[in-house]
Amino acid sequence: MTSIPKGRTSPAKSRRGNWGDDTGAGPGDSGNSDPIGYPGGRLSQCGEWGAGGWVRSERRRGNRLFNPPAASGVGAAANLSVAITDPALIAASSDGTPGSNGNAEAMYALNSQNIISGQSPTDYYSGIVFNVGNNASNAWRNKALRRWYCSSSTISWRRFPECRWTKRRPTWCSTRTPIPRRPRSSRRSMT
């Protein structure tokens, strides 16, 4: 039995299927950055909770679904593993009565519940994809823009606050050469 962080739902309460009124509060909201696999996190609890169900084919209490990670904190989810290989061993019944599928329904409901930082798993993953893509796009654009700035001779670096006094290219430019002065011939052509 894993220890439950302060403020978490107790495993005994979870075994009774108390998943529908979830408010999204989890280890991720209390400073833990790995809310899924953390001992006491949702999947770990699901594994513990599965141990309280019934195996329909054998009419006995089932084993846990997941092996909870031993480590806590960042990276704990990577150590989470599935404990069973036979789907028939999933404790779908919550009370052992014929036709009961309380456990299966509760597990399926995890998909749409706000269990990770107030978001459903799909929405949370979608947000990660967006942030990664946005950051990569911005980084590429900034790099291209800076490269253009640094190679450009038409930009008046004196107009940049950070270059006003040094009259040199900004510190983020790889070339630290002074700003080239326009030839006199071109200065005359200015209107």
Binding site: Y125, N134, S151, S189
Partner: protein
């Protein structure tokens, strides 16, 4: 009229940008997809991630329906004998 005394850096930058755009277009043509990386269109990539989840869910629904259909047909066959 303003004249740029040294236009080559700007020209080279423009050529590099065009090359990058051509490379991106070639990648889109080769793959047949407009979004190959999340950075191509972050919003579209996020929607694609959601769609992938929903597609997997729909596939599972279909498998479950097929399984239940098989069970019902077996039961029907047994009852009709």
């Amino acid at each position: 009229m303003r004249v740029n005394p040294d236009p080559y850096p700007d020209l080279l930058a423009a050529v590099a940008q065009t090359q990058q755009q051509i490379q991106t277009d070639e990648q889109e043509i080769a793959s047949g997809q407009s979004v190959n990386l999340p950075s191509d269109d972050p919003a579209a990539a996020a929607l694609l991630a959601q769609n992938a989840g929903q597609t997997a869910q729909a596939d599972q629904f279909q498998r479950s329906i097929g399984s239940v259909q098989g069970e019902i047909q077996n039961a029907d066959t047994a009852l009709s004998r």
